[in-house]
Symmetry: D2
Subunit: 289 residues, 4 copies
Amino acid sequence: MTESVKVKVKLGENNYGKADVQLFKVYRGTPRHRIRDVNVRVALTGDFGAAHKGGDNTGLLATDTVRNTIYGLAKEGFAGSVEEFGQELLAHFVRVGPKVTGGFAEFTEHLWERLPGADDQGHDHGFVRQMPKHTVRVETSDGQSFKVTSGIEELSVLKTTESGWAGYLLDERFTTLPESTDRIMATVVTAKWEYAAETCDYDDVWQRAYDQVQRTFTDHYSPSLQHTLYRLGEAVLGACPEMSRIWFQLPNRHHLKYNLERFGLENDNEIFHVDPEPYGLMEAWIERA
Amino acid sequence: MTESVKVKVKLGENNYGKADVQLFKVYRGTPRHRIRDVNVRVALTGDFGAAHKGGDNTGLLATDTVRNTIYGLAKEGFAGSVEEFGQELLAHFVRVGPKVTGGFAEFTEHLWERLPGADDQGHDHGFVRQMPKHTVRVETSDGQSFKVTSGIEELSVLKTTESGWAGYLLDERFTTLPESTDRIMATVVTAKWEYAAETCDYDDVWQRAYDQVQRTFTDHYSPSLQHTLYRLGEAVLGACPEMSRIWFQLPNRHHLKYNLERFGLENDNEIFHVDPEPYGLMEAWIERA
Amino acid sequence: MTESVKVKVKLGENNYGKADVQLFKVYRGTPRHRIRDVNVRVALTGDFGAAHKGGDNTGLLATDTVRNTIYGLAKEGFAGSVEEFGQELLAHFVRVGPKVTGGFAEFTEHLWERLPGADDQGHDHGFVRQMPKHTVRVETSDGQSFKVTSGIEELSVLKTTESGWAGYLLDERFTTLPESTDRIMATVVTAKWEYAAETCDYDDVWQRAYDQVQRTFTDHYSPSLQHTLYRLGEAVLGACPEMSRIWFQLPNRHHLKYNLERFGLENDNEIFHVDPEPYGLMEAWIERA
Amino acid sequence: MTESVKVKVKLGENNYGKADVQLFKVYRGTPRHRIRDVNVRVALTGDFGAAHKGGDNTGLLATDTVRNTIYGLAKEGFAGSVEEFGQELLAHFVRVGPKVTGGFAEFTEHLWERLPGADDQGHDHGFVRQMPKHTVRVETSDGQSFKVTSGIEELSVLKTTESGWAGYLLDERFTTLPESTDRIMATVVTAKWEYAAETCDYDDVWQRAYDQVQRTFTDHYSPSLQHTLYRLGEAVLGACPEMSRIWFQLPNRHHLKYNLERFGLENDNEIFHVDPEPYGLMEAWIERA
């Protein structure tokens, strides 16, 4: 082991808070209950140098206090969207924390549908969990103005035809993949977007974005996942004037046609191996021109 | 380290095969495609002593051959249910493996719904993945008769009221939990069942079981997860005469009412902490009387 | 949806209890602390029919009480091994639960080594976590006699040579794998064993088994993972007279030689793709002859 | 569903490539083999507008080609550190990709120790996997100059005493946590650092950083995880003049003293519940002054 010598150091960018707070709220004003099921992270920024350097905790909010506050404010507030609740939280921490000047809050909301009920409106207080998630990030540097980002996670879609990959660079030494004009395209959509509007009906925007992604995925022959990404962005921005821009991360979950010819069998795009790793990965922002 | 001395040993119960084979089949006879997306494990049993003791691989099916076979037979067969495909696979391995006498096949089927299409019948070749899974286990000791088990996994349900836990043993030294007649009940259903019928429409049975679980979960005040388990079993057996018995594993995903009274706030079953660990866990078979 | 008709059912085999209880005990009698870090599941069996059928919880231990008891008894007892603590727990539950007649307890112990200290004995109260785990299962049907099983999990080992796979069945239609006499062998050892002795120094047996597995894995040319499994069993039984038999589950974590010849490059067992799925999977009991 | 109207959009920041490529290299020049086991992601940036907008793939490197290249260059190069291999890869892609101008490569290296051998130097070709990981990120905008970041992941450490949390803000409405001057401190270290040096012995720097983190964690009474974070940074920078700054993310894995007083038992810091969620989370850069 090499020894460490004494050197002059200073604190750079930093934050602290509580992560993986599991908050569940029931709105029970009427027999037809509504619920919110969110994983919360709150990270505070501010004047925390004395704590880091000297071990002086004076004026620090304990992360346990941060946790209690999330539950307490969820009772007093959280009447509307998760996006608005994030702003309520951060405004509060800047107000009560003597050393807090800003921070960010991140949410992953689990989505639940109503279980079947007596009629086709679904059950009043029974729910079944869905796979896709709603994500939110709210950020502030003063506790008064906020940057809001929302998104979709774990929306897993595929189409069994109307997709290909051809016309790419074939003369590179390491290229072995044959071109294809009929393959399976499968991906797990992660999206996030920023807002042009100061404020808006965040839940309604999310629903429109979610609908457009599902409809646009199949409305064209896809020459590449990059092109489909672009079309998804175009369609969502077209349906959501409240958005300024949208980002997608799309893994190409490769469904590889299994080589059955070795066994004297034809494989007319029927039998595939789903390769868990590696995968193509595309990331891009689509913005208003 | 203590040395190992030479002792006389023998081979006991054993099997080998291939696990986590990701098979995807597209049924494209018409423009309206159907799909099967299954994770497969095949384990073979038989006369494998020479391989274990002497390192003699004569007559052994390679696990790579097992994998190829799964894809090859999926092309030639797999016209019906996963349960039937499991029987096709095992019958084949007993037939072609000189030392194979039996084995088991396990499947986890990922379920996909159709994406929205032009009408309300859903898209012809676009799909979106659902959370619950369909499980299957087929077992044989001769390649000719089979024991089939089917099941449900990752069906996550909750109800916000009509559940309690009271009347239990209060005089035990370590009891601190207060009784409740209004709490959240949340669980992630794992079920598996055996069949009375020699053969049946396995997919239809699964759908009936899945429907009954979702409907029965909310059709009563639940005094305990154990009682709800029993009622689920009763309802599924009532809807599925093909079943002989059914097993459930139900974790009690505790939603703990957060103590807001410390902050001068009332908590009328509105604000909960979802505790990831530990959890109550109930397991039981429900059988025909 | 098909309706459910009323049918006669009864309760079959069943149990309930608490899972994923995270217990951490510090032994601080001297400045040189020792620790135990265990994940605990306790499942009780007994006369639970009234709770299941009628929703009558009379005399039932709450799973919350089960949890409290685990922590309470860890304070009063848990002086020795995890295997002995499992027996203390089950004996207690049979004693205090009016309807409990037996059950099982399962443990996953996280292993920690001492951080570096002033001398080479390691630090007195600082620890760093290791990857392998120690597993235990204790079972009873009367609270007085116990069946104990111990094991190893997540011991990931590999060797870069001295392993092959040849001489297997080549004339099967679906065989495409070429034979090899020099490949990488990689596996993640899961083992569990039963005891011949009524009682013994469980921690010492575990350490001997763990040492033997690590030494035996490399002491021979391996013609198959099945043969290596057999030799591991033989060596551990030779070092541990307290054991009656031992079971291994060994996945074959395939390291596939990457086809570089396509690019005009030789691959003399140097460059491999580690395939996450699928994998060969071997399971066997090795027993005293 | 709301319809999407046609709007003008453009492509913003974007990249594409291959992720989760599992590369394993054996250095077998002598009987004493060495290994590298890395998960690789390569993301390319450049002029990809035509592919996104028009579906024109001309001149694009397929992600399959990216994968092949990683294995091919690992054979031809990768003689030194992972950090240097990352530069070789990116330089290559800028050279051969007509539309590629830059990108980044990310690596997670799995660490293996030698299994026990004949003497105390460890086995020549047998290895056992360790828990901590070595991470690397290399970035370029021209294929010629590179920004390198290295790090540590999943180093799980704890100390059973010499840690507390006191003196913090107590008059906030939501504060309920009592002060403590003797608690367990447990964390899972994630670190990453940037280099002041143009080039250096990256493996040696990593080893020094890893040693310092393990030694510094226990060399002081910790009044907060923030202060320990600062001391870790100071010590590593003192041992590694090649580094310009270092970032840590430290979750506070809360070990909560279990309330045994309710059962008439004292708990003198002996019995703890390890709470999986939520957890305090601290992030900070420590930089040279």
